[in-house]
């Protein structure tokens, strides 16, 4: 009995990961993941969602409709409005996951209706890899892996 229970537990943990809720709503998409903090002002083009900062790990990629995983935001507080602009232009991520959210990204996500959770209870960079399909539920504070490459 015990081994079987352990297997089931592990499967449950693999698909549903508890987090803290920051911005409400639910979003789904393919994962784009970086350990590099993001300053939305200057790093992301609000017209396209492309990462335009050549010094950023995700340079050349597009955050549109993705589930964007990054440790936390940094830089100018105007970054909150860049998220709002991305949303208005249809280029925002479907959801975001932080290690520790800070005010710039938290406020930006809330005013832009982008689901955001932080403090996942697993090492997110090990458990989720690029290409995974993930649901972020910011209302209840969890994420789910629904598929992978």
């Amino acid at each position: 009995m015990l081994p079987l229970k352990n297997v089931l537990m592990r499967q449950v943990i693999e698909i549903r990961i508890e987090c803290r809720s920051i911005s409400k709503g639910e979003g789904k998409g393919p994962v784009l993941s970086t350990k590099d903090p993001i300053s939305f002002l200057g790093t992301v083009d609000p017209e396209t969602g492309n990462i335009i900062d050549p010094n950023h790990e995700l340079h050349g990629k597009c955050i549109k409709d993705s589930i964007l995983i990054f440790p936390y935001g940094k830089g100018s507080t105007v970054g909150s409005y860049v998220l709002y602009q991305l949303k208005k232009n249809g280029c925002a991520p479907s959801g975001m996951i932080n290690i520790d959210s800070e005010p710039i990204v938290a406020v930006g996500a809330i005013i832009s209706d982008i689901p955001l959770v932080d403090r996942p209870n697993v090492d997110i960079f090990k458990v989720i890899v690029e290409g995974d399909e993930v649901i972020v539920n910011g209302s209840e504070g969890y994420l789910e892996i629904t598929g992978s490459k």
Binding site: R20, S23, P46, T77, S80, A106, V107, I110
Partner: protein, 393 residues
């Protein structure tokens, strides 16, 4: 975080989307910083006003909000003098957008007074221990340190949310334990006037976001403390400081001496003046009033300009209310050819970009001008700034 039933109802959307979003922001920030509850605030000061900084996206968000602020609220400086923008060299396309931003804020019941010195305004007086939600870094520092009121450095949307709800999260500088000094700063020389801005510029770089306790040989006036705090909040992110035997909280609490100490010597302060002294006589603009001038500072400038004609662009920045209350001081300043600008300043206005090198007597302006306006700046005393613009013909 504990919410009252009323706050829960707002969060559930019973009072509409604007208040729902506003309280979501306050709750999210409260959760991030470990607040136990929301606490009432006396007033709010909202950053994110200049079109240069918030752009079309900011304008669109503010315009989407509906409702009325619950506490007296004012704005941070805008990108231009709201009346004499043409005289500053601001293009009409910018002015139209800037006025739309002001209108959107005003429709939320916010007073159209754009200043980094709200503590000079009627209805914004504060006393020891009162809670507020202010944004502009020098105003935050002044309120916390010189008055002993309590505020975190709010972002634009969070200050606006606090204004709409009339509350803010109980965390950070609202709590006693975060207001205790963490480093002593011993200043080994007598200093006066613009030396305080130079001191703040140096110390901010050295201590980042610590809470310093200053031991000064000289006795600072309130305007000196204003310059000190503004500079430290710009070159570092100091939001609260204490001065031994001067600031109210230090007098009441009699804090223990912090374990860490740094010493500032005369040479370091002189270095701030000398670092860009090669621009002497080569500045093409002089700008005073960062933070915005008080009536007393305007009087000092008026006296120094008496009988002189400035032959360079010369700005004196203040709030519209202070200007309106200054009687003939403004006309005495303007008689010299200097311009008194209201609602804006040299740091947030795009008009600064039209020049090459700006002489300033503010540690805050000296810190920000090169990065934000892409021009040089030279640090000088008030008298040297006036000499820089003087009539040598």
């Amino acid at each position: 975080m504990y919410l009252t039933r009323e706050e829960e109802n707002i969060l559930n959307g019973e009072y509409g989307t604007t208040l729902q979003k506003a309280i979501e922001i306050l709750v999210a920030l409260g959760d991030i910083y470990g607040a136990d509850s929301l606490i009432p605030i006396k007033s709010a000061q909202i950053a994110g006003v200049s079109y240069k900084t918030i752009g079309d996206a900011g304008l669109e968000w503010i315009s989407s909000l509906k409702g009325t602020v619950k506490v007296p609220s004012v704005l941070n400086p805008a990108g231009m003098d709201l009346e004499d923008w043409a005289g500053m060299g601001i293009p009409e396309s910018f002015a139209i957008k800037q006025k739309e931003i002001i209108k959107a804020y005003s429709e939320l019941g916010i007073r159209v007074e754009c200043t980094c010195t709200p503590y000079y305004l009627q209805g914004f007086d504060l006393s020891l221990g009162e809670h507020i939600a202010w944004s502009e870094s020098s105003a935050v520092s002044y309120a916390n340190s010189v008055i002993g009121a309590r505020t975190n450095r709010e972002g634009g949307p969070s200050a606006l949310s606090a204004a709409l709800i009339g509350k803010t999260g109980n965390y950070g500088f609202h709590l006693d334990q975060n207001r205790v000094p963490t480093i002593s700063v011993n200043v080994e020389c007598d200093i006066s006037s613009s030396d305080y801005g130079a001191l703040g510029y140096i110390v901010g770089k050295m201590i980042s976001n610590k809470v310093p306790l200053f031991n000064l040989k000289s006795n600072p006036k309130k305007v000196d403390l204003k310059s000190l705090g503004a500079a430290m909040a710009a070159s570092g992110s100091v939001a609260l400081y204490h001065v031994k035997n001067v600031t109210p909280e230090q007098l009441h609490m009699n804090f223990d001496t912090p374990e860490e100490t740094i010493v500032i010597e005369e040479e370091q302060i002189r270095e701030v003046y000398e670092s860009k002294a090669s621009f002497k006589n080569n500045c093409d603009i002089v700008a005073l009033g960062c933070p915005h001038c008080s009536v007393e500072e305007l009087e000092e400038i008026a006296s120094l300009l008496e009988g002189k004609t400035v032959n360079k662009e010369f700005w004196v920045c203040t709030s519209r209310e202070v200007a309106n209350n200054s009687g003939d001081i403004i006309s005495r300043i303007e008689k010299s050819g200097a311009k008194v600008l209201c609602d804006t300043c040299m740091v947030v206005s795009p008009a600064s970009e039209n020049y090459r090198c700006m002489a300033v007597n503010s540690g805050k302006a000296f810190n920000y001008i090169p990065g934000m306006c892409k021009i040089e700046s030279m640090y000088a005393t008030l008298e040297e700034c006036i000499d820089e613009a003087g009539d040598r013909n």
